[in-house]
Subunit: 342 residues, 2 copies
C-alpha cells in the first residue's frame, strides 16, 4: 500500500482547531504510516501545537496556512466565491492537486458540498455527488442512506447511480458481499410512489451492477432489510430530521412520565443518559463520517460541534475510504454500468 | 343544531365487527342525540347485537346490510370496481346520498381513499383530497400534518390548498384562532428545497386565507413551531414511517441496554410500557382519526387493528367534524381563495 496523506480542515466546526489537533495527536499514533496536513490559521495552530510536542516533532505532519474561515452561518453559494483561501477550500485543493487523498472537515455542510463539487468535480460519468451516512440497524449491522441533502431533486438515472455508488461503498467499507439495494418509497408495491421512483426501480432492476431488492418504507430505515437505501436529498433529509424530531418528543414525554417517580432515580437518570446517547447521531449536522460520494477524491464531513473523539472517528473513516480507493472503485463500477448502456 | 347521523363500516379492520359494535354501545350513551347506521353482514351483526340489547332497542341505530368486505390486502384500484356492495362503499354511499353526515371505517386505507374520492368527490374548487392526522407537540398541543399519502406528487397550487384546508381544520377542530401554517422542507432558508415547495411558499405567502410562517424541517414535526405542516403524500408518508422505524430501533436498543440489569425490573418494565405507548400512534395504518379533507362529506379512518376504544375515538372525531360542518367550512374558505384569484 502506498502511503496516504489526509488533509484536515482545522478551522471548520463550532469548536475550532483545538479538537482537530487533539484528534490528530491520536490519529498519529493510531495510523503510523499515514501523513497529515493541518490546514488553518498559522499563528493559532502554532500556539496550539506547543501543547502537542509529538505533533510538532512528527515528520508525518505538515502545516498549510490559510487566511479565511467558513462560518457555520455562511451561505454555501456565497462562500464558493468569497472564501477562496478558507481552510475548507485549501484542504479540498490539496486533494484536488494530489497532495492528499482525502480531506476531513467539521465545517458548514452546505458549503462543504458546494466547494467539494466545484473543486474536485464528479468522477467521469457520475451525474451528481451524494451525501451518504451509515445508519445503525436493528440487527447490529450498518445500513447506508443516500442522498441526505446534496440533491433536492433527482431524476431516475441519478437515483440508479446512487444505488450503484452505495453498493460499492457497502462492499468496500461495510464489507457486505452482495449489498441489498432498495429505493425508499411510500409503499412496497410496484405501483406505489411517483414516476421518478418507479422509473428508478426499473433501471435498478435491469442493472447487473446492483442487487436490487425493491421498495422499502420509512419504517425500514433501521430494520436491517436493506444494506443501501436510496432516495433524493429532499426525502433523505426530511426522513432523518423527522426521526430527530421524534426522538426529542419521546425524550420529553418520557421525562415527564417519570417526573413523579421518587424511587430509583439513578435508574431513570441512567435511562435518560443512554436514551440520549442512542439518538445523538441523528442530528444531520452531526453525522459523524458522512461522506460525499461520486467525487474525484474522498471528502468526509465530521460533526459541526464534534468532540475530538468524533473528529478522530471521521479521520478513521476518511483513511478507510482512501485505503480502499473508494472513488476509483466507484469510477470502475459506474464506467462498467455506462458501457453496458452503449 | 340539527341531528347528526354517522355511518359505521362494521366489517373493515382486522378485528371485525365486534369492536365496532362495542364502540357503538359507548357512543350511543355518550352522544344522546346522534344517530348511527351500522353497515355490514346482516347475520353476523344481528348475532353480535344480541349481546347489546341497548343497541337493539335504540331508535337511534339502524342496520344497513352489505354483502362484501374490503380486505386489508385488497388493491385499492381493484376494490373500487370489484366491491360495489362492500360495507365500506355502502357506508360512503350513505354519506353521498345525505343519509349520513360522516362515515367511519377501520378498513384498508388505500381502498378508503380511492372509494371516498370516487363516491363523494372533492368539494367544488378543491383539486385533491388530503389525508391528515394530528401529531402531538412538545408543548402539549396538537399539530396537523398533511398529506400523509393520498397524493404521491403535488403541484404548488395543491400544496397551497392543503395549507388552507389544514388551517380551517386547525381552527374548527383544534380551536387555534390563527393557525400557523408551514411547509415541510429540507431547510428553512427561502432558496432551500425544490421548485414546487418554493413556488408553494410564494402562493401561501400571498394568500390572505392562511397565516403562513415559512419552511420548517423534519425536526419540527413535533416541536410545536407550527399548527399545520404541509407536504406531498410521498414526503408525509416517509417522514412518519421513518419515525416509526426509529421508535422501533430505540426501543430495541434500550431493551438491550437494560437487559443486564437485575434490579428495579418493575421500573424497567413500566418504562417500556410507557415508551411503547408513547409512539403507538405512529403507525400510519393506525392513525386514530386520520381524516380525508376536501371531500363532500366527513370520512374518518380508524386503526386497522383498532380496539373498541380507538374506534370510539374515531367516532368522536367524526362527530366533531360533522358538528362543525368541516366540509362546508373548507368549501367557504376555498371558494373565497378562488374568487380572489379571479
Amino acid at each position: 500500500m502506498t502511503e496516504l496523506t489526509i488533509a484536515l480542515d482545522a478551522m471548520g466546526g463550532d469548536q475550532g482547531p483545538d479538537i482537530v489537533v487533539t484528534a490528530l495527536a491520536r490519529a498519529l499514533s493510531s495510523f503510523p504510516r499515514v501523513h497529515f496536513i493541518l490546514v488553518g490559521d498559522e499563528a493559532k495552530l502554532n500556539t496550539l501545537l506547543q501543547q502537542h510536542p509529538q505533533i510538532q516533532k512528527s515528520a508525518r505532519v505538515s502545516l498549510q496556512k490559510s487566511t479565511q474561515v467558513v462560518a457555520m452561518t455562511d451561505k454555501p453559494s456565497a462562500v464558493v466565491r468569497a472564501k477562496p483561501d478558507s481552510s475548507m477550500r485549501v484542504a479540498l485543493d490539496l486533494v484536488h492537486n494530489g497532495s492528499a487523498q482525502a480531506c476531513v472537515s467539521a465545517g458548514n455542510t452546505g458549503a462543504l458540498m458546494a466547494m467539494a463539487y466545484l473543486t474536485l468535480k464528479t468522477l467521469p460519468g457520475v451525474m451528481r455527488p451524494a451525501l451518504v451516512a451509515s445508519l445503525p440497524q436493528q440487527n447490529g449491522s450498518q445500513g447506508l442512506l443516500l442522498d441526505l441533502g446534496a440533491n433536492p431533486s433527482c431524476d431516475a438515472e441519478t437515483l440508479c447511480q446512487f444505488g450503484i455508488m452505495g453498493s460499492v461503498m457497502a462492499q468496500h467499507i461495510n464489507a457486505v458481499k452482495k449489498p441489498r439495494v432498495a429505493l425508499l418509497n411510500m409503499g412496497t408495491e410496484e405501483m406505489k410512489g411517483n414516476d421518478i421512483v418507479r422509473h428508478a426501480a426499473l433501471l435498478l432492476k435491469a442493472s447487473p451492477h446492483v442487487e436490487y431488492i425493491g421498495f422499502v418504507e420509512g419504517s425500514d430505515l433501521f430494520s436491517g432489510k436493506a444494506d443501501v437505501i436510496v432516495c433524493d436529498g429532499f426525502t433523505g433529509n426530511i426522513a432523518l430530521k423527522s426521526c430527530e424530531g421524534l426522538a426529542e418528543l419521546l425524550y420529553a414525554n418520557l421525562k415527564q412520565s417519570f417526573s413523579g417517580h421518587t424511587m430509583s432515580k439513578w435508574l431513570v437518570k441512567l435511562l435518560f443518559k443512554r436514551y440520549r446517547k442512542s439518538w445523538d447521531w441523528l442530528n444531520p449536522d452531526q453525522y459523524n463520517g458522512a461522506s460525499l460520494l461520486g467525487l474525484r477524491g474522498v471528502v468526509m464531513k465530521s460533526h459541526g460541534n464534534a468532540s475530538a473523539n468524533a473528529y478522530f472517528s471521521a479521520i478513521q473513516h476518511a483513511i478507510r475510504e482512501a485505503e480502499v480507493s473508494l472513488p476509483e472503485q466507484i469510477h470502475d463500477r459506474i464506467e462498467a454500468a455506462l458501457l453496458e448502456l452503449r
